[in-house]
Amino acid sequence: MKPLSLITGNTRGFSIPSLIIGIVLLGALFCFPSFVQSPYALHMMILLFLSTIMGESWNIIGGYTGQYSVGHAAYYGAGAYGTLVLLQKWEIPPWYGMWAGMAVAVLLSLIIGSICFRLRGPYFVLASIAVAEIVRITVLNTPAVTNGAEGILLSDLPPFKIGGTVITDFVSKVPFYYISLLLAIFTIVVTWLLQNSKLGYYVQAIREDQDAAHSLGISLSLYKSIALAISAALTSLAGSFYAIYIKFIDPSTVLSLDLSVQIVLIAIIGGIGTIYGPLIGALVLVPLSEALRSNVIAQGLINCGVVREDSGVGIFLKEHLAHAHVLIYGILVVIVILFMPDGVLGFVKKKSRDWGLGTGKGLDR
């Protein structure tokens, strides 16, 4: 079966139409900044790419290997702090600091793996949370290196050199757009390579049945650790990018349990163990939570005449809805777990199959 599909060139997920759609989409993404100058639109796209990177990297350990780490904020924070601490204390440019952050994240993942991978199921989840919390408290309480609870504010970036050209214009979001786009593509390519590699098959075997995989001679701790290290490295990249893009980090934004949960939810809501899942998750979550954050929804309700602006409810919504953008994560995850156990992607696929459509659009009930 496998050789045949190789000859016909029709491997999973890479039919000719989907390949064309993919290329067109990529082309459109690369041209996007030349047509849209609005910094806000670019910002949204960057957030989308960032969420995609986080979701895809978690997917490697959570979706493919089946180890539900709820402590990925530790790696994200390692990337963010690694980059900014080096930049601030020793003026090491972020494109070197990034690698240092990644090294810290990988090292951390090996330590965490050696502790947590002996545990299974809920115990693994609890241990991963505990380790991430230890990291957060440590960063919070070593102000000499990390500025503690104050966090690190980056006032200016050193110029960025690629070949002969020097990019100094960091106010513009365009360079960040391309960096995050490339990082997102890189993460997806790594995931795709992993999915179709021997390592990928090993970790998926571990996900399906640890004991069976072990009895077939697959070293559980080795392959889980490799998967976690890759996942941690990619997550740290997202953290480094976030730190340079937002220019401010503190333990409660880049190391919190909430962040770990959000990373998991991106993948879960989209659908785990697939390449498109986290992408869909990001596409669902980022616009929704941003709409809440920027008060689009409250304003929309007022404009539609559902609530009057000067009424108590209107004022209340305008004032408070923005603070509760995480609420949407909670509601979505409950809906997804109860009604779409395979995520939005799995749900849409199943529905379209039920209706006998090949690629039909599934409508939510």
């Binding site: 539900y68 709820v70 502790i115 002996r118 545990l119 299974r120 199921g121 809920p122 115990y123 989840v125 609890l126 241990a127 949370i129 505990a130 380790v131 919390e133 230890i134 408290i137 440590t138 919070l140 309480n141 349990l257 909430d258 949960v261 998991v264 939810l265 879960i268 408070h320 809805l321 603070h323 509760a324 995480v326 609420l327 994560y329 909670g330 509601i331 979505l332 995850v333 409950v334 777990i337 109860l338 156990p341």
Partner: protein, 290 residues
């Protein structure tokens, strides 16, 4: 450091540990009966705290008296959550259960934020900062009161589980769900009671701690983590273990705060947690190894 300081720390650790024990016992009952780890446990406690706060500020009911209202209210709240959500995921993948309860917790804490903003609220009673002395050791009055109430509730709980039919039916369900069902026990009803009990214990803990703690929407997650540490330490599903675990964690925190530093006391707690997971995952009172 003098031994009296240490003694002081141990005493206040035990007093706080009583409240921790309530949170842990609630979590362990829910886990025992349904095999669901409730990640929204701290958020249930937060709901209890806000309930107490409003009973106090709006109706002037003393936080320790308001427990009489908090217990049934939280019981019904927990029962509804069980019937609407938890019931559907009993026996499904553990990760899905965890995520569902995380989602429920997020909904609770963010709804609280929506309704009451993220401001810290402080419930000040006339005795909030008063204390009395026994043999040179000063004991905070609200902590001592809350410990007393905790002890009464825990004793009642033991009586309920050991002597009443419903209590025994719940224990039977926890031991073997299917066998219990075959014996004619209404397992679904027992689950609702168990989650209701868990929620009311968390809510009570919230009520008891509110005179001495800040009240804010995100207060839950720290206590959820603490509840896990306590239940794992005592052994998942063991009520005696959770009681013991709560007191141990209370003492570790309190003694850690005076001997090391209060900034690092949580690191100490989590380190103990990891050590227990690695060395004796069944916990102090656990029967089966996992």
């Amino acid at each position: 450091m003098t031994s009296s300081v240490l003694m002081q720390a141990i005493i206040s650790g035990i007093l706080v540990g009583g409240v921790y024990a309530l949170i842990g016992v609630g979590l362990t009952i829910i886990f025992g009966v349904m095999r669901v780890i409730n990640f929204a446990h701290g958020d249930l406690m937060m709901v209890g705290m806000y309930l107490t706060y409003f009973l106090f500020t709006q109706l002037g009911i003393d936080p320790f008296v308001s427990v009489i209202i908090t217990i049934p209210t939280m019981f019904i709240f927990g029962g509804i959550i069980q019937k609407l959500f938890i019931n559907r995921i009993i026996g499904s993948l553990p990760q899905n259960q965890i995520l569902l309860t995380i989602g429920l917790g997020l909904i609770m804490s963010n709804s609280a934020m929506l309704a009451f903003t993220s401001d810290y609220k402080i419930l000040t009673t006339s005795y909030s900062s008063s204390s009395f002395n026994i043999m040179g050791i000063s004991i905070s009055q609200p902590l001592a009161l809350s410990f007393l109430i905790t002890a009464v509730i825990t004793l009642l709980l033991y009586w309920f589980f050991m002597k009443t039919d419903t209590g025994q039916a719940i224990r039977a369900t926890a031991q073997d769900r299917e066998a219990a069902q075959l014996m004619g026990i209404n397992v679904k009803r027992m689950s609702i009671i168990a989650f209701g009990l868990g929620a009311s214990l968390a809510g009570t803990a919230g009520a008891l701690i509110s005179p001495t703690y800040y009240i804010f929407p995100q207060v839950g997650s720290a206590f959820t983590l603490k509840a896990f540490v306590i239940t794992v330490l005592g052994g998942m599903g063991s009520i005696v273990g959770a009681t013991l675990g709560g007191i141990i964690i209370g003492v570790v925190e309190s003694v850690g705060a005076v001997t090391i530093s209060s900034d690092w006391k949580d690191v100490l707690v989590f380190s103990i947690f990891l050590l227990v997971l690695l060395i004796k995952p069944a916990g102090l009172m656990g029967k089966s190894s996992t």
